[in-house]
């Protein structure tokens, strides 16, 4: 009798728990129950929106901030018009929970930090809205794992696998190429941010991961013992002392003005003409935000740092990457506009 009851109970449980639901373990180690088919996903911040756009744009409910006019040609037609949905990351969220729920997402995804604040935030929002909330590790090295995890969640494993392989083969190619280059032969890179170029990312921050991966040495190195790894303000004197032979930036104003600025003129990067302006559409190539957009930036930067070793045809590579990741066929005009300055400043 008891046995029969148990069987009935098991059957009842098996019936109640629909065969459709699944459990996923996210990067923070949280077990999250998600529906079998995930058709609408809310991106909690800009990095997550790019991860989702790359994998399955039709599932995206909107952009944390709508694409700007100059970014629109580089996003596939139906998706550039998705609505603005705000950010849900951190206490500084601009998202309105009712708006999030009105879009009826099956899932909320955040891509980036998996520290305690974000874990508790995810738990809170999940409890409050009843919508499963996944946290995905956003470090650059973890990109292939993030693609595979989200591919499984979204049920687009083949595409995720193809993209993950692309990233892995790039990582492997760079690693193999860089292994033969002595540390002293690597460029000393200063990452200039802001209109005056006096804001930089310290070595080890998520904003500058790309420099080391591409084989550069970040001159803003606070040492191994430093507790802070973020963006910082520096003085021109510190830049001169750091003596960078290469400067990278995404700020157009800085790039235009630095060539004629007497304060910068004696820095080796300027005397050797090695200042590089990164493309920023539809997403930045260096950071801004730190997401999959950095993959093409990594390819470009490695070629900038070591033109002999990594002689990528950046125009062809960009066209391929934008097709594969961003679902757009670039025409020559858009491609030229995008890459205009990325080859460096023409000698005059």
């Amino acid at each position: 009798m008891r046995c029969a009851m148990a069987v009935l109970l098991v059957l009842a449980l098996a019936y109640v728990a629909p065969a459709t639901a699944r459990t996923v373990t996210d990067s923070a180690g949280r077990s999250v129950d998600i529906p079998a088919s995930v058709t609408r996903v809310y991106a909690a911040g800009p990095p997550a929106s790019i991860l989702l756009y790359v994998l399955a744009p039709e599932r995206l409910t909107g952009w944390p901030r709508p694409p700007r006019a100059e970014e629109r040609p580089y996003i596939a037609a139906p998706y550039r018009d998705l609505p603005e949905t705000g950010r849900l990351t951190g206490r500084g969220d601009t998202a309105n929970l009712e708006v999030v729920l009105r879009d009826r997402p099956d899932l909320i995804v955040d891509f980036g930090s998996v520290r305690d604040t974000y874990v508790s935030l995810a738990d809170r929002v999940q409890a409050q809205t009843g919508i499963p909330y996944l946290l995905i590790d956003g470090r650059f090295e973890a990109t292939p794992a993030a693609l595979r995890l989200m591919g499984e969640v979204l049920g687009v494993e083949p595409r995720a696998e193809a993209l993950a392989r692309y990233v892995e083969s790039l990582f492997a190619e760079l690693e193999a190429g860089l292994a033969e280059i002595a540390v002293d032969d690597r460029p000393r890179v200063y990452f200039a941010r802001g209109p005056d170029g006096l804001e930089t990312g310290l070595k080890g921050s998520i904003n500058t991961e790309i420099i080391e991966l591409a084989g550069g040495r970040n001159v803003a190195d606070p040492g191994d013992a430093a507790i802070r790894r973020g963006i910082t303000d520096v003085s021109i004197e510190q830049v001169i002392v750091a003596n960078p032979d290469t400067i990278i930036t995404w700020d157009r104003n800085f790039y235009q003005s630095v060539w004629s600025d007497p304060l910068w003129s004696q820095i080796p990067a300027l005397t050797e003409g090695r200042v590089w302006l990164s493309p920023t559409a539809p997403f930045g190539w260096i950071d801004r935000p730190p997401s999959l957009n950095r993959v093409i930036g990594l390819k470009w930067l490695s070629g900038v740092f070591f033109p002999e070793r990594f002689d990528f045809d950046i125009a062809a590579e960009t066209r391929h990457f934008y097709k594969l990741f961003y679902h757009v066929d670039l025409n020559d005009e858009d491609l030229d506009r995008l890459l205009h300055w990325s080859r460096g400043r023409p000698a005059n």
Partner: protein, 342 residues
């Protein structure tokens, strides 16, 4: 007693009217939001919850109503009332209409705690706890400094100590902002310092409400003595009360109320400074009526502003910005048309 002028409401009637207005506003606020919910759906969801059974067809509506909208309305009422009450207490205590609940550094102190919590990537509950604790600790420190200094003017020394330590806490916040990660921590700190009820949860309201009520008890019990405090220390002492002890008690109560709401809402300016003034214009300076009037106005005002914050655009607007934009014109108009002195 200032003679009442023609056309003015009796204070009792004014209070009842205010309470009615706030209640109507709260009901109206439950009806509006980006997620369309009809009045019938709200009624059946509320009746269903009271009756202990749920209407399965409501699903999402229940979540919106009970986990998001109603807690937020409750939080707006609670935070607004607490800030306005604290403002009324401080303004009476220091006999100065320019005093806000932050005069002794409670919000700046709480802001420092929250910034530190965000900087250290602590869980949300720890950030709130740290904000509450540093808010109280800052005022405690101000009090300790003022007691140690012992000037001729106890209130002046107290205010000066509050200004100095508040500035110090402000400098520490700036330092943390410089050090914080600009991608996820800096916007969080900035947004926190501007105040928002966007991520309010039912538990937040349940945790803050008892602390606010606890702070309210001495204010209500000793409301008559507050009027004596407004006469100044010597007069109050001559009338047989101990101004020092009473001041400590009032400051502690107002600080507790402010710190507990600031911990869940972030720093919201304006309400504590301006609402007591408007209340004074309506019901006069008698603390017995000023306290409830301030609280009702603060609650109603913050409810109005927060409802705007969550319905105006698809994304949230920080309350610190809206309170000033909505409040400044109203305040100027009241100043221009007001007939009563302070």
């Amino acid at each position: 007693m200032v003679p009442r002028q023609a056309g003015e409401l009796k204070p009792g009637l004014a209070l009842s009217l205010l309470a009615l207005i706030v209640a109507v506003m709260a009901a109206a606020a439950a009806l509006v939001g980006p997620y369309p919910i009809s009045g019938e759906q709200i009624a059946s969801a509320v009746l269903g919850r009271l009756g202990g059974q749920r209407d399965p067809s409501l699903g999402q509506v229940e979540t919106i109503l009970f986990s998001i909208r109603l807690p937020r309305i409750g939080a707006a009422l609670l935070v607004g009332a607490a800030l306005a009450a604290a403002g009324a207490v401080y303004q009476g205590l220091f006999r100065n209409p320019l005093v806000s609940p932050d005069i002794l550094g409670v919000s700046t102190g709480a802001g420092l705690g929250a910034a530190a919590g965000i900087f250290l990537s602590l869980p949300v509950i720890a950030i709130q706890g740290l904000a509450f604790a540093t808010g109280l600790a800052t005022v405690g420190l101000v009090y300790a400094v003022a007691t140690a200094v012992r000037g001729h003017e106890p209130t002046l020394v107290l205010v000066l100590a509050g200004v100095v330590l508040g500035a110090l806490a402000g400098a520490c916040i700036s330092l943390l902002k410089i050090l914080a990660d600009p991608y996820d921590q800096l916007p969080a700190i900035t947004f926190w310092l501007l105040g928002s009820l966007a991520s309010i949860q039912p538990e937040d309201v349940m945790t803050a409400a008892p602390a606010v009520l606890l702070g309210l008890v001495p204010l209500v019990l000793l409301r008559w003595r507050m009027n004596l405090m407004a006469l100044g220390d010597e007069e109050a002492a001559a009338l047989g009360i101990d101004p020092k002890r009473l001041r400590t008690l009032f400051v502690a109560a107002a600080t507790l109320m402010t710190a507990s709401v600031v911990a869940i809402s972030g720093v919201i300016g304006w309400v504590g400074l301006v609402m007591p003034h408007i209340a004074r214009l309506v019901v006069g300076p008698n603390f017995n009526r000023l306290l409830p009037a301030s609280m009702l106005m603060g609650a109603g005002y913050l409810l109005l502003v927060d409802t705007l914050a969550r319905t105006m655009a698809e994304t949230e607007t920080p309350l610190g910005i809206l309170t000033a934009f909505v409040g400044a014109p109203v305040f100027i108009w009241l100043l221009a048309t007001g007939r009563r002195g302070w």
